[in-house]
């Protein structure tokens, strides 16, 4: 879990969560790193759905990502944000249902554990109201 860093937002003045130009977030990390397979897959799915299939525009993806609360926005990585936006937009645009997705997650976790692989049981929250249930 990345370190919580929303204390930097003390001087934000009411801007939205992603719009941090001019705020002091410390030095930029220029280290290069390899992408994990799931990150490449998320990238490929977004490109397919946004530019080839026209299920949504990248602007809609931005809108979903920008709607995260500060804590969620600052605690998630680049492709984690993409993956969550992808999931939410697929449901929003009726490509898949939430029930289908939930069922697939149960199935996939069971399959992974049966194969001796690690599978998180943590669900990525959908909305802030959802977490309070």
């Amino acid at each position: 879990m990345p370190e919580k860093k929303n204390e930097y937002r003390a001087e934000a003045g009411g801007r939205t969560v992603h719009d941090v130009g001019g705020l002091d977030f410390g030095a930029v990390d220029f280290d290069e790193h390899d992408l994990a397979l799931w990150e490449r897959r998320v990238d490929a799915m977004i490109v397919q759905l946004a530019t080839k299939k026209g299920v949504f525009k990248v602007d809609a993806m931005r809108r979903v990502i920008e709607s995260y609360g500060e804590q969620q926005y600052d605690a998630t990585t680049y492709y984690e944000k993409w993956a969550r936006a992808l999931r939410n937009l697929l449901v929003e645009q009726n490509v898949i249902s939430r029930e289908e997705l939930d069922a697939k997650l149960v199935e996939t976790r069971a399959k992974m554990r049966a194969a001796g692989r690690e599978a998180s049981s943590e669900d990525v929250p959908w909305n802030e109201w959802d977490e309070k249930k």
Binding site: D19, G21, F56, K57, D59, A60
Partner: protein
């Protein structure tokens, strides 16, 4: 460059423009730190569908002219201590620009 059916550009290269200082509702491409600031149009980047509408699956038409606007860094940051000629360029959609009227202190 995407040229789609849209409104003809209201501003031309060299025009002084002020970024509107209004609140953003939902998805917005205009950075917070540029709102209310005055700059100069450098070029017209093309005409693009309105991202604020596309974000909610609307067609975003009529398409909006998108401008490259140049700002002096010293006009943006009160404590800027770099060279006086330092500048910053940003892409701003026409619906976020107003004609610049000289402020009393200018």
């Amino acid at each position: 460059m995407t040229m789609e059916h849209g409104t003809p550009p209201r501003y031309a290269k060299g025009d002084k423009v002020r970024v509107d200082d209004r609140d953003a509702i939902g998805h917005c491409r205009t950075p917070w730190f540029l709102r209310g600031r005055t700059g100069t149009v450098v070029s017209i980047q093309g005409t693009f569908r309105d991202p604020e509408r596309l974000a909610y699956h609307y067609p975003g038409l009529p398409a909006l002219p998108l401008y490259k606007v140049r700002f002096n860094q010293r006009d943006l940051w009160p404590d800027y201590n770099g060279p006086e000629h330092d500048q910053l360029e940003a892409d701003i959609y026409e619906n976020w620009l107003r004609p610049a009227t000289p402020a009393p202190h200018e």
